[in-house]
């Protein structure tokens, strides 16, 4: 690979652009593929360009035969995002764990004493109210949203915004009773049963988690399963 290609790729990644590196595995010829720049060095046919565009949309690295040539398409999409509502104890564990797992994490909490740099070193914090924060963050198909405050004033507006977005994972912490009450409120707010089925509540896989760090593991495990298209199963009980 030419160093210019490496640097161009790093620049596009820094600007959060969707880009793929396409390599002809036999000759080593390669070029970058973006929405406007279809790897011209490889002279792709429109059909081959569409195959690359599909891999980018599906966020999938793959060996693909492009115009009869064995090529490798390496997708460099911006990191998936995790929006955590509530700068609480569990968030202090979940934010760094999710960052290690590759998520760009934002913690939202308008309560000044909670969302502090001291408690969340190096984490992106938003002191806005959840409805405003969610509007600004605009969750997309590569975004997960988890509410952890237990406070309907904070959790409900975030869940409302999440349900109106295509977020790939929505989780809400709270006991079964809390969650039941929450579903009641959201139903009265006009959401259907199918809408509410998108919420993982209580959030997290049932691994018997007790400590904040363990609960963070269970939530991260569940959203990993959602991202990798597995049915995350909650054993009965």
């Amino acid at each position: 690979m030419k160093i210019e290609t490496v640097e161009k790729l790093l620049d596009l990644k820094a600007r959060k652009q969707q880009v793929a590196l396409v390599t002809d595995l036999a000759s080593g010829a390669q070029d970058l593929f973006t929405e406007t720049h279809h790897a011209p060095a490889l002279n792709l046919s429109p059909a081959a360009a569409e195959q690359v565009a599909l891999a980018i949309r599906e966020d999938r690295n793959a060996e693909i035969a492009l115009d009869g040539r064995k090529c490798f398409v390496q997708v460099h999409n911006p990191p998936p995002r995790l929006i955590i509502i509530g700068a609480v104890h569990i968030s202090q564990a979940l934010a760094p764990m999710a960052a290690i797992a590759g998520y760009a994490v934002t913690v939202v909490d308008p309560r000044r004493t909670f969302a502090t740099e001291d408690r969340f070193p190096g984490v992106t914090l938003s002191g806005a109210w959840p409805d405003e924060a969610m509007e600004k963050l605009a969750p997309d198909v590569r975004t997960a949203v988890v509410t952890l405050t237990h406070d309907p004033k904070l959790d409900d507006p975030a869940l409302t915004a999440a349900l109106r977005s295509p977020a790939f994972y929505i989780g809400a912490l709270g006991s079964k009773k809390t969650h039941g009450a929450r579903l009641g409120r959201l139903t009265r707010a006009g959401f259907t049963e199918a809408d509410l089925a998108r919420i993982h509540g209580p959030a997290g896989l049932d691994i018997g988690a007790k400590s904040p760090a363990e609960i963070a593991v269970s939530v991260l495990a569940q959203l990993t399963a959602a991202r990798r298209n597995r049915q995350s199963q909650r054993p009965p009980g």
Partner: protein, 106 residues
């Protein structure tokens, strides 16, 4: 910074420092392979290594091959097809198979 970025940053930095640099990318896997497709390892002629293409099992072999790629500039597609019997010898104890594309950073 993600691991993906770290590897590419290192590739650019080491090359700009004038070292010989090669980049290895997992292009296909079969069976229980420890790192997913797209995982990368960057190596330099002065013995530096960052990232991974397996769980540490074939990095040594890739490193050795990388020195040849840096020398002749020809990209290579390497197959690590490992049966369970061979697994201990080559190092992929899991018995997985993978293909690695190895190229020089020019």
């Amino acid at each position: 910074m993600t691991e993906e970025q770290e590897v590419l940053e290192a590739a650019a930095l080491w090359r700009r420092e004038g070292k010989g640099v090669a980049l290895a990318t997992v292009t296909a896997t079969w069976g229980s392979s420890p790192r997913p497709t797209g995982s990368q390892l960057v190596v330099s002629t002065d013995g530096k290594m960052l990232g991974s293409v397996s769980g540490g099992c074939i990095e040594g072999a890739v490193f050795k091959e990388a020195q040849e790629v840096i020398a002749d500039g020809k990209p290579r597609l390497l197959d690590f097809g490992i049966t369970n019997e061979q697994a201990w010898e080559v190092g992929l104890a899991c018995g997985g198979k993978l293909q690695v594309f190895l190229e020089r950073v020019d």
